[in-house]
């Protein structure tokens, strides 16, 4: 009995200290250092790795999500004789939810896992310790550029996802299903608000960008230095990153809609 209570306490303390470690890690890893020139080069390289290389999967996913939204929405709306509202439905669901959330989920799978594996392998092969011995701070050299790059890259990807999705929706709605083109765009323009829909979606994308990259880099840094440890850390990144995105999405939506 005492043992069970003790194990609950131990488990709680362990989780607590993990959250504390992750928070302290973010505090250490955010500053880029004082010489901004080389730091900027490192960030640019990571934006390439995280953003440009994720472009294809994000654009293809955006196209298909937009097309499916138009197809599904048409079949529901046509029952009420209001298929003109299709543009509005596609644009609002993409800008508010699908754009930031689906992009962040893809980003966690495509870029987050790669980050964790890269940093985990650096740790396993003692590259991080070697840097410390040489007097190079691995937080500033390795972690900070990756965190900033993820924070920058995800909103860009989400905006491109939205744009491609809306044009994909237009492709299906106007050219295949025969919704009048004028009403598709006009309904969309009268329904979408810059502040409520576009900028709130952008804020979500920035938050997800930071959180997913934070989780990925932290798990790489915190991984056990074995091949099993790296594989476990990579899995943790994708699982926790995706769950964090979905959970935070609910919280952010609730705050933005002002329901609480």
């Amino acid at each position: 009995m005492i043992d069970q209570v003790a194990s609950i306490g131990k488990w709680t303390l362990e989780k607590c200290s993990q959250v504390g470690r992750a928070g302290h890690f973010l505090y250490l890893a955010l500053p880029l250092g004082w010489d901004l020139g080389p730091a900027l080069h490192r960030v640019v390289k990571q934006v390439y790795n995280l953003g440009v290389l994720s472009l294809i999967i994000v654009l293809v996913a955006g196209l298909f999500v937009g097309m499916v939204l138009a197809l599904q929405g048409y079949n529901i709306l046509v029952g009420y004789g209001s298929e003109e509202a299709l543009g509005q439905m596609v644009a609002l669901s993409l800008l508010r939810e699908f754009g930031p959330v689906v992009t962040a989920l893809l980003f966690a799978g495509r870029a987050g896992s790669a980050l964790t594996a890269e940093i985990g392998l650096m740790k396993t092969t003692d590259q991080l310790s070697a840097m410390e011995i040489m007097g190079v701070d691995p937080m500033r050299r390795i972690m900070a550029p990756r965190l900033w790059a993820g924070f920058i890259a995800l909103p860009m990807l989400a905006m491109l996802f939205n744009l491609v999705g809306i044009y994909g929706g237009a492709l299906v709605a106007v050219d295949v299903l025969g919704v009048y083109e004028g009403s598709y765009w006009a309904n969309m323009q009268s329904a979408v608000d810059v502040q409520d829909d576009l900028l709130n979606g952008l804020v979500k994308a920035f938050v997800f960008g930071l959180v997913v990259t934070w989780i990925a880099v932290y798990h790489g840094w915190n991984s056990e230095p074995t091949s099993e440890g790296i594989s476990r850390a990579t899995t943790m990144t994708v699982v926790q990153g995706s769950l964090a995105v979905l959970g935070l999405d609910f919280v952010l939506t609730a705050v933005m809609l002002g329901g609480f």
């Binding site: 080069h41 640019v44 390289k45 934006v47 390439y48 953003g51 440009v52 472009l55 009420y80 209001s82 644009a91 800008l95 920058i152 890259a153 909103p155 860009m156 990807l157 905006m159 491109l160 939205n162 744009l163 809306i166 765009w185 969309m188 323009q189 009268s190 979408v192 608000d193 810059v194 829909d197 576009l198 952008l202």
Partner: protein, 150 residues
């Protein structure tokens, strides 16, 4: 990969992302600075708005000539005061009437204006006197049942 091509591709990526944001703002949200400056404000008082909201259309003969900007409740008379931004190129005579209409059977509410015959025009900040509230379906049904039961 060479540093230069890498940097060019990152630059193109960032530019594409920002361009997407601008396109979304202007083409998808219909944001334009023209509307803000080229409008004048009119007020109208309605007894019942029945679901008219901010940003609802103000139209005349089916053409959109402005938007609802603000809605407040006048706590002296307990009527709704609607602030509208009307495009500058549309002068309205002082006996213009405003009514709350519905587009389609279940569509959104909008304000329909019909112009009068007066020579004088409304200036910025004036109020449209002749207004007609929205038709509320429940009230109509209530009146119908009441008249049947007599």
């Amino acid at each position: 990969m060479k540093l230069r091509t890498l940097e060019i591709s990152v630059g193109a990526f960032m530019l594409a992302g920002m361009l997407a944001l601008v396109l979304l703002a202007f083409k998808i949200s219909g944001l334009s600075y023209k509307d803000r400056t080229n409008t004048y404000t009119l007020y109208a008082r309605f007894e019942n708005l029945a679901g008219l909201t901010n940003r609802a259309k103000v139209s005349m003969s089916g053409v959109t000539v402005g938007r609802v900007v603000n809605i407040v409740l006048d706590t002296e008379d307990y009527v709704a005061v609607v602030e509208m931004a009307i495009q500058n190129g549309v002068p309205l005579s002082t006996d213009t009437s405003a009514s709350i209409l519905t587009s389609g059977l279940l569509g959104e509410k909008y304000i329909g204006l019909s112009v009068g015959a007066d020579d004088e025009v409304l200036l910025a900040g004036d109020e449209i006197e002749d207004t007609q509230s929205a038709i509320v379906l429940e009230e109509l049904i209530g009146q119908f049942l009441f008249s049947r039961s007599e």
